[in-house]
Subunit: 134 residues, 4 copies
Amino acid sequence: MLSSEVKIRVRYGETDRMGYLYYGNYPLYYEVGRTELLRKHGFAYKILEDSGILLPVADMKVEYYFPALYDEELTVKTSILKKPGVKIEFLYEIFNSENLLINKATTTLVFVKASDRKPCKPPKDFSDLVDRFF
Amino acid sequence: MLSSEVKIRVRYGETDRMGYLYYGNYPLYYEVGRTELLRKHGFAYKILEDSGILLPVADMKVEYYFPALYDEELTVKTSILKKPGVKIEFLYEIFNSENLLINKATTTLVFVKASDRKPCKPPKDFSDLVDRFF
Amino acid sequence: MLSSEVKIRVRYGETDRMGYLYYGNYPLYYEVGRTELLRKHGFAYKILEDSGILLPVADMKVEYYFPALYDEELTVKTSILKKPGVKIEFLYEIFNSENLLINKATTTLVFVKASDRKPCKPPKDFSDLVDRFF
Amino acid sequence: MLSSEVKIRVRYGETDRMGYLYYGNYPLYYEVGRTELLRKHGFAYKILEDSGILLPVADMKVEYYFPALYDEELTVKTSILKKPGVKIEFLYEIFNSENLLINKATTTLVFVKASDRKPCKPPKDFSDLVDRFF
């Protein structure tokens, strides 16, 4: 299993009228979570994309347990639970400043060629990297 | 069944580097969808909230089929499939300008009192309104 | 002078903890304002960009007079005050539902070639269109 | 003079179709800049707000010199140039990963009482803190 953690502080502009992190802003945090997970393991998402491969999101499931407050420093724990193929699945667990699990989500992303947007295998260096963990 | 449609045009600032509507911006469109569904049936979400009841999102499931492009006018069809109690579930179907279903999602929202954030029944005028449809 | 108006309703996700439209979300509304001004006069910004010309923003000046509230329908009046050259300047005036001027802004955008990001003249059909008004 | 620096990495969802940080997302970065400046000097904006004082933005001036790219780590340098009274003015200078100044902005914020939204003096502990620097 591959996993990593990143801290994200809730910005004022990301809250809503309820005073909470807007439910639609969590996907931004998941994006940071998976980007930093890849970076930590030596794989910049930007380089993947520059090499002609995109990773659009195919599905997302989110459970909101507790609100995240303005200025709170959250911990986003991101994991890859199983060996990726054409698809790659991420699990996100967000903990608030009191270490309470406030949000859990999964996303499935698909490797596609930028040229024709057809699904494809992940690049070899990515597979080599990831295979070590499964 | 209660349903309604609203048109939303994809803003430049809502696209990402891929040139598509960012996956994290769809929840904003779902919000517009359910707000307009309620408004169309005589129920302003703002008034609900001003009366001391909030409707936070408890879970969300999203399937992304095709990308939405910059400046495209999308149709968001929002439905309430079953009679709401403490929870209310919305279904969203987004069609692009060629009437292709590009995205489908559900969200569950919970009626809570603003004072103590405890779950509660929907207000009577809301129930009366909704009961006519189920 | 070229001008046009467009209605925009404030989304929940665009408000902040104060209950107001977040100060950083106004530029999204200006974008809608200038896009619709161009569209109304037969010129789709998307087509401009597809033809290899970009219009990045070079500067922006904003004055915030009164807050915009959640669910309020605002009127964004957008104008081009003087004949554009390499640069084009837009004026935005935002009125709330009581027709009070709540926000005023200007932005300067620059025509650049997508290929080398160098400033360039606007395309001929754009100049022809605009010249009729000055 | 009071100043401080904070690093912000450009998120995918903050870029636009041009591949750049969307011009409307810079104000979010200014917000982070001034929040961290205050925090560094022992003053949490959240506590200010919890004490019944808001700091809405009255005006903003932005100059965009160069684009900010996806995944780039930017440095936001925020300064308070003169002694604040009812108004407080911030200067923001954003440098890209090559230490090039890509964006400069100023914002004026006004201390107002949350109860009646009337302008007011800053709280005494804030003035005491700030006065040491001017």
